[in-house]
């Protein structure tokens, strides 16, 4: 049970997405989940072990680490990826429900071509359009919320080399050194950039869907 399962679930959603949705999914898998697993986790792997404070006072390091890193970057990214991927499940559930209804009608005797039922490409229209659009909206909201949380919690996106700490039981203001600050800053900026790209893709997809439905309306009325 790991990111592979999420990938299997989201891969299923891919069939019912627009082209921009498929690009978004690819960016998510390759530039976010894969980078997180193969690179970022190693960089943050030794974060508390190598967080060193200029004091021998027991407990000072624990307390300072907890004060400056209430929730680690890597955990925030994992949560962000989980929350951002979840709205796609709404679409998967809606499609499954639609197919289930068709199957039920078929079983109750209505004449529906079973081959057509199996291979039908679900078009994004009607109630599914609303589900799909709300899922994109929620994705955008979650991305924005997490980016803001990052910015607020860590006062920007740069990882300092040195933090000054005077939380009890540190005897006075103590210098504490963060491990691999430059590498961490690089990955933070990278993940931020990719989040931004994903947000732009989502906004583009939202505009595309809205324009598509607006173009359909005048044609219907004329």
């Amino acid at each position: 049970m790991d990111w592979g399962t999420l990938q299997a679930v989201l891969g299923g959603v891919n069939k019912h997405s627009t082209s921009i949705g498929k690009i978004w999914l690819t960016v998510l898998f390759i530039f976010r989940i894969m980078i997180l697993v193969v690179a970022a986790e190693r960089v943050w792997g030794d974060e508390q072990a190598d967080f060193v404070c200029n004091t021998l006072q027991p407990g000072c390091r624990n307390v300072c680490y907890d004060h400056f890193f209430p929730i680690s970057h890597i955990r925030l990214w994992a949560l962000q990826l989980i929350f951002v991927s979840t709205p796609a499940l709404l679409v998967a559930m809606h499609v499954a429900y639609t197919k289930h209804e068709k199957k039920r009608r078929f079983r109750n005797g209505e004449k529906i071509d079973i081959e057509e039922l199996k291979n039908a490409k679900i078009h994004i229209q009607g109630p599914l359009w609303w589900t799909y659009t709300s899922s994109i909206f929620f994705r955008i909201v979650f991305e924005a919320v997490f980016m803001y949380v990052f910015y607020y919690m860590y006062d920007g996106f740069q990882m300092p080399r040195l933090v000054k700490c005077n939380a009890w039981p540190c005897p006075n203001t103590v210098d504490c050194f963060v491990s691999r600050p430059t590498e961490k800053t690089t990955f933070t900026i990278f993940m931020l950039a990719v989040s931004g790209i994903c947000m732009l893709l989502n906004l583009a997809e939202l505009c595309y869907l809205v324009i598509k439905i607006c173009m359909k309306e005048p044609r219907k009325t004329t």
Binding site: W3, T5, Q48, P58, G59, S72, I74, A78, I82, P169
Partner: protein, 204 residues
Amino acid sequence: MSWRFLRDLLSGVNKYSTGIGRMWVAVVFIFRLLVYVVAAENIWKYEHDEFECNIKQPGCENVCFDHFFPVSHIRLWALQLIMVSTPSLLVVFHVAYRENREKHHNQKLYKNPGEIDGGLLYTYLISLILKTGFEIVFIVLFYKLYSGFKVPRLVKCDIRPCPSTVDCYISKPTEKMIFLCFLVATSCLCIVLNLSEMSYLIFK
């Protein structure tokens, strides 16, 4: 043998569930199991090594850690996930029993062995009651064992062989508290889903 077994079990149960049941499976997979594996496990990984007491007396740290963490949060979390998923096996067994009976008698005894009617409805309801029961038991256990869901930065310990009252510092207390709150929130969500599924089946 890993979480994959649980994942396969729950996927198998999905076929025989109601819509709310499928939502419950999705919540358990994504917000509990996946969060546990990719995030929570790493937070508690070195909890004993990073537990530090303000004393050089050998054995004092071990004894204090054992006193304050009789069963670690992360182990309780794993046990909760396993216990909460297991009642679904009752439904799987019942469906398998029905299919076996059909094969044995060589005729169609049920409209559809996986349809939730008759005896299977009772089995399903019992599994829902057990799931809800286990959730509540574990939340109460967490609350009682750790006096609430707060993880303190500092605990004071004076058990032998610690010579006096010693300050001990827990590692990553804020992060642990955030994930514990997440655990409680998802448990409550699952309880609500189970209760609504029960009312839906009873009033159907």
